[in-house]
Symmetry: C2
Subunit: 231 residues, 2 copies
């Protein structure tokens, strides 16, 4: 065997290994999840086992395993002997999700002073990313920045399990967001709120920041609910 040319080679190798290491079902689940969060697979749609497994060139069993993974993430619902469908969160689901977020994120933001400097910087980075997106009129970035912001808030608590749960909740919410047509109209209101929260945090006014965060939840939830129950 010949020795490979000295490159910075181990880094990319580790990445490859990581993606190879993952089970096929997980990669399929990733693919489907992307399609769902992009809005290509719209809520309510039924996913046909035979058609999809043939299209992806995998067996039905493997696809079913991918379905199970996404069902656990609450992105799909499984109805016995009927099949799997893309979740369409209703008003109750949205209320439940926001109740959970209120508890988790408000509890996390209160740890601002105790959090690591790294975690605090994560919040600042998320806001900065959103500002840059707004300046360049990239409203898709503003949307992801908003999600990043709330994940950063959660990370202040320093619990991986909490982070995962919030990630699940946010993914589920994105399925509800599809009813919002214009993302700009939806997100442009939230960026200044995030900025305000960060300013309060940096001024060590944690209690006020929490109040502002609660206001955000109220407006965002009612935003969604009126759309869902409206026309």
């Amino acid at each position: 065997m010949t020795t490979a040319p000295s490159h910075d080679w181990l880094g990319t190798l580790a990445d490859d290994r990581l993606s190879q290491d993952r089970a096929r079902a997980e990669r399929v689940a990733d693919k489907l999840r992307d399609r769902m969060l992009d809005g290509e697979l719209t809520p309510g749609l039924q996913l046909n086992e035979k058609a999809i497994s043939e299209a992806l060139g995998i067996s039905r069993n493997t696809l079913r395993e991918a379905f199970r993974l996404l069902t656990h993430e609450r992105l799909l619902v499984h109805e016995h002997s009927r099949g799997v469908f893309v979740c369409e969160p209703g008003v109750e689901e949205v209320a439940d999700i926001y109740a959970a977020r209120r508890v988790i994120e408000c509890g996390a933001i209160r740890r601002w002073a105790d959090a690591t400097e790294e975690a605090r910087q994560g919040v600042r980075d998320a806001v900065a990313f959103g500002v840059r997106g707004a300046e360049t009129d990239n409203w898709l970035d503003v949307g992801t920045a908003n999600i990043r912001f709330h994940r950063a808030i959660t990370a202040l608590a320093g619990s991986l399990r909490l982070d995962e749960e919030v990630q699940r909740l946010l993914a589920e919410l994105r399925l509800a967001f599809y009813v919002m047509g214009n993302p700009r109209e939806f997100y442009q209101d939230y960026l200044p709120m995030n900025q305000a929260i960060l300013a309060l945090l940096d001024a060590d006014s944690v209690a006020e920041a929490e109040q502002e965060l609660l206001r955000y939840f109220d407006t965002a939830e009612s935003h969604l609910v009126t759309r869902l129950s409206g026309p």
Copy 2:
């Protein structure tokens, strides 16, 4: 076809339907979970697919689905091409779990006034159940009462998703509890704490109740950690 004799027949049928409807995998998962929480399947143990599927008289596929359910509950860990193992929570895991519980349960208890009367009664019932267990020297009941208490506290927030997450966290903790030999010694300290918290809540001293809850977390966590990192 002959008509069935008039019985109260639909009730039992619905039950049957429900239990039939429950996938076989879930029943298998229940069986395995019981064995794990009884301490029969000790942390670190590998679960062999072939042996277990044959012992239970089910197919390997069904067993794998049961494994997935338990993996999602974080009672099992799955290592690619190596198999599934019973989780053995270490010090970092315990710290992570308690960080999450602090955020969730403290956030939930603060909703005492806003919660439904039903939810508040759930907390009282859990404490009462523990008291009864202590009076009759049934320390197993005191243990389950403690778990019930914390689930009831969580339920004050009114979010099913939060309830499920806490249930997962508590199940994971029970795997760590197996290192505690004597359950009585472990739980008898916590019952009076729960009583004190309830008394404060019923006196509408929510902030003090939260402080007491935090103290509980501190003592319980250090209890566990010293055992885990000690001998």
